[in-house]
Amino acid sequence: MNQVAAPLLTPEQNSLALWALLVLVLPLIAGGLLLLFGKKLTRQGDWLAIAATGLAFFLSLYLFFQVWEKQAVHVTWPWFQLATGNTSIISFTTGVYLDNLAVLMLVIVTFISLLVQVFSVIYMHGEWRYHHYFGYLGIFTFSMLGIVLSDNLLLLFIFWELVGFSSYLLIGFWYEKDAAVLAGKKAFLFNRVGDIGFLFGIFLLYTYFHTFDLILLKNAIASGVNQGNNFLFPAITGQADAITLSYTWLTLAGLGIFCGCVGKSAQFPLQVWLPDAMEGPTPVSSLIHAATMVAAGVYLLSRCFPFFTEDALLVIAIIGGLTALLGALAATAQYDIKKILAFSTISQLGYMVMGMGVGAHDASLLHLVTHAFFKASLFLNAGIVIHAMHHAAHEFSDEHSDVQDIRNMGGFRKILPFTFYAYIPAAAALVGLPLFSGFLSKDAILTGAWGWAGFKSQNGNLLYYVIPVFAFGSVLLTGFYMAKHCFYIFFGESKLYKEPELLRENKTAEASGLLLVPVAILAVLSLAFFFSLNPFNYAGSWVMQGVSWQKLLMEQPGLSGGLLPAITTYLHEASYISLATAILSILLAVVGIWLGWLSYKKAVAAGGLSTITAPTSGFSRLAYRHFYLDAFYEKVIINPFMRLSGGAAAFDKNFIDYSLNTFAKIMVVLAKLIGWVDRWLVDGTVHLLVKVAGVTGKLGRFMQNGKVQSYYIFSLLGLILLFLYILAF
């Protein structure tokens, strides 16, 4: 096994792998030190965390330039061995896999993490357990990097769980608040639900292929031959014979892995934890929603892309499209500055997952990258705004107003101009306006979706067009809610605090430089130029080039077979789709913004910026409550169980008891009847009959005495009857 898994490595590759490991452990070391000794260090050790992450970032950059478009490094080490009794020994390997995708993720994760930590220095200043916060961030970054670097599913799963755990720590960081504790718990539990599926997917794959190694798995799967309903795989390592696997099981394995993504990337129907996760500190939201936790699901899909059959991909596409639409719809009705962004994240993740499902693998990853920057930027902007609101609320000793409600804000364009100008590019990128990064990636996904639908519906089944329609609908909604978000916060005039100075750090600066610099960097990175020299052509983007499926999967699309090349060809032929998508998406975005402006004007005109009431009209209430999904779970999962047990008890009491009681009653009536007949007709033999009937009635009552031990006796009588049967025959 080792001979197969570890081809000859050049010293350079070995050293690259070691550098990668250093990147991995740096945040862990910093985090561990902070958790243990943070209180003793100067400034509670935030410099240590930032320095470690910064170092990790620069190492990642080095790795990026060494690996990107040049080579793929796969280094393995023996991990552990299991003896299987009398047969051979099973070895497990672990290792580092660096390819274009991995180094890209490395850079993004460490970069966003670095910016978020710098931002947090001011944002979390004076916090009790300041050092714990940075420690948790370090562990979180470590876990995410582990997911990125793992070359096998088992290790990946371990880091996957670590991410879940550290996100639990971060979301519940303010554990004095009940809501934060509940949110952390909820996120944790919903992730577990997905992870069970993930685990079963891993087990299925292991059962068939006897390896966790992603590369070996990929090669094994790529060599499979489609035989109608089955796949024939040639003999793989450690296996004597070729194996035949049914399509259904492979689909199930793929869906199992997708379950993990559903939990972590907040896909329908497990997305409800994400809005609640806003209870965590805002920089944490920024980190979780931009580059790390939720992106992990998409990353996983990309890594495991070859393992998905065509049917599995279809499910993924449907779930993704549905999530995109539902998230966007919910976002339209929210008024919490962070909740809107949270639902927007759900929606955008839906895009990415849908992109994976429709085979737009590279477009999805491009969107992952661009989304990481602009969403981080938006959250950090929101953080500045909340910080300012808190500042003012503190000055006024105002503890009743909701400082996160956008209806309480307004006019920040003048008060916090720098923030406003940093906010605009990011928001525009999210909406998908041309010249901004979001346009590129969203356009790519939309084109892919359209192309997929077109290709699939060649047999006349137009239902496939539902997916692109969902996607385009989401574009419109995105424009609408982002416009609202922007207008409410930055336009008009401040609703709550009339003195703008109170919202600023001091007369000259609107906020501390450490808050503004990360935001500024991210805002600049939301421009399209960084991703493609031609801001209207995503195909030329260097990211797209680097992560295209031909490169990542080595021309082996895996179980989905010829789907990807076929779609590519189809898109090539129907070249109008690309152009139409671009125009349509811009149009929809603009219309969305216009509608948002109308809605804002209407609200201002109605003076209806009341912060107390929740929306009352039917649909917006539905959207505000997130389609009552939480209530749905309460009703569908929890209550039915309660009702089921209640029903069982009622069944026992009302049906079984009742029927036996009735039986007994009938017996008594019968006995009485016979008694009457006996008394009025003949005695003698009839008396005997009466006795018999009486005894039968008594037996019926006796068996039905409600004592569990008697029931036990009667059930044992059944066993005795069985003995008698055996004795008799």
């Binding site: 409600g706 004592k707 569990v708 031990q709 036990y712 044992l716």
Partner: protein, 104 residues
């Protein structure tokens, strides 16, 4: 010949099993009923180990007897928690009295 024949062990198991059943049937105290259940588990375990002694190639018998113990531990923990809850509610653990209390 340090070998115990199979039949006596199985008969011992059968006796313990029946005593366990007797305890479950005849006792009024919920905890004694629980003890009877433990006795039944043990009788089953004895059979498993005895069979394992005579067919040890895969150790199924011993492995499964360990599983039986695990289940028994889980079972008794939950059962005792329930009994204590019942006690705190009805102030008795007498099965017949509990039945009368619930039989409204």
């Amino acid at each position: 010949m340090n070998n115990i024949p199979l039949i006596p062990v199985l008969l011992l198991g059968a006796v313990l099993f029946c005593l366990g059943i007797l305890a479950v049937i005849t006792k009024r105290h919920a905890i004694v009923v629980l003890m009877g259940i433990e006795l039944i588990f043990n009788a089953a375990n004895l059979n498993l180990v005895a069979f394992n002694r005579h067919q040890p190639d895969l150790m199924q018998g011993q492995v499964f007897s360990v599983f039986v113990m695990v289940i028994a531990a889980a079972e008794s923990a939950v059962a005792l928690a329930i009994i204590l809850k019942v006690y705190s509610y009805f102030k008795t653990v007498n099965l017949d009295q509990i039945r009368h209390e619930t039989d409204v």
